[in-house]
């Protein structure tokens, strides 16, 4: 039986900038920020494990990862970076208790929205991008 989702990967172009965006703009907590070392595989040392998550959901870690070895090879890294920059990836749906208010708060902080809050059959939804180009839905779900 699968009991939940604890970690998920979001590709970002720059971890320092992403850390600022997710904490200062979105108000997320930093869960981990540490550099892993592997003395047996010198090429793989220096991998920065940076995870964040919403304050209200302490058991979720979103890994903000720069596409590069050892996670992916150089060629894949280049392709992923281009796709992130083009805006091709959606990273998920974020829950909110008040979409219109959160939209105003985030917009004032300079978050780029693609869609203003709109009524949908399942609730109120807006769409924004993170600083790398990943898009998120910001949804106030009905009946929750």
């Amino acid at each position: 039986m699968i009991t939940g989702l604890s970690h998920t990967t979001v590709w970002v172009l720059d971890q320092n900038s992403a850390k600022k965006f997710y904490t200062e703009k979105l108000g997320f907590d930093v869960r981990d920020d540490t550099v892993m070392t592997n003395e047996y595989m010198p090429g793989t040392s220096g991998f920065r494990w940076l995870t964040v998550g919403p304050k209200q959901q302490p058991d979720l870690r979103m890994l903000l990862a720069e596409p590069k070895p050892p996670m992916v090879d150089e060629e894949a890294a280049k392709a992923i970076r281009a796709l992130v920059a083009k805006g091709a990836f959606g990273a998920g749906v974020l829950d909110t208790d008040d979409c219109r208010k959160t939209y105003e708060d985030l917009r004032k902080k300079g978050v780029q929205f693609l869609q203003e809050p709109a009524d949908r059959p399942y609730g109120v939804e807006a769409v924004f991008r993170d600083d790398s180009g990943n898009w998120y839905s910001l949804t106030e779900r009905k009946g929750r």
Binding site: L13, D14, Q15, K86, G90, V93, L114, A118, V127
Partner: protein, 159 residues
């Protein structure tokens, strides 16, 4: 971490694309769109087309038609109202572009969608982000029995 020049270029082009996605309902001229990316008009059109497979003008038009399709499916508005709401300035060009992209007229599309029974159960964000038709998927066609096959929409089962 250094940002490769190509990534920077793509980020700038995306800013222009995002502007069209965000402000499709407004009058957007090419200077404003190219300016969002920090480009001159000429280099912008070429670079955008190389990256997104169509000209900015075609992209904006497709975005407006995609938004119109949603309104036709879900909103209690006339075709004329929807035409202006999504940023077209004449009903004639709206109808022509719509037919070119979707394969049928706006009112035929609406009738068909109503007959099919309500909006599909996909979150609107996915519709927004993934329903801009790719050139290969752009055309709908009318089958011999008169049923309209909207190939863009038929991707709904593949999240």
């Amino acid at each position: 971490m250094t940002t490769a020049p190509d990534v920077e270029r793509l980020v700038n082009l995306r800013a222009a694309k995002d502007l069209m996605d965000r402000s499709y309902s407004e009058e957007l001229d090419l200077d404003a769109i190219a300016g969002e990316a920090g480009y001159s008009r000429f280099h912008f059109v070429r670079s955008f087309r190389d990256t997104y497979g169509r000209t900015p003008r075609a992209y904006l038009s497709e975005r407006r038609i995609e938004r119109a399709r949603e309104l036709l499916r879900t909103a209690n508005l006339t075709v004329t109202e929807i035409c202006y709401l999504v940023g077209f300035s004449s009903l004639g060009s709206f109808s022509a572009r719509f037919k070119e992209n979707v394969g049928v007229s706006p009112s035929e599309y609406r009738e068909h969608e109503i007959a099919r029974g309500g909006p599909p159960p996909i979150p609107g964000c996915f519709v927004l982000m993934w329903s801009t038709p790719t050139p290969q998927l752009r055309r709908s066609r009318r089958r011999q029995d008169g049923h309209i096959v909207d190939r863009t929409m038929s991707r709904r089962g593949e999240p």
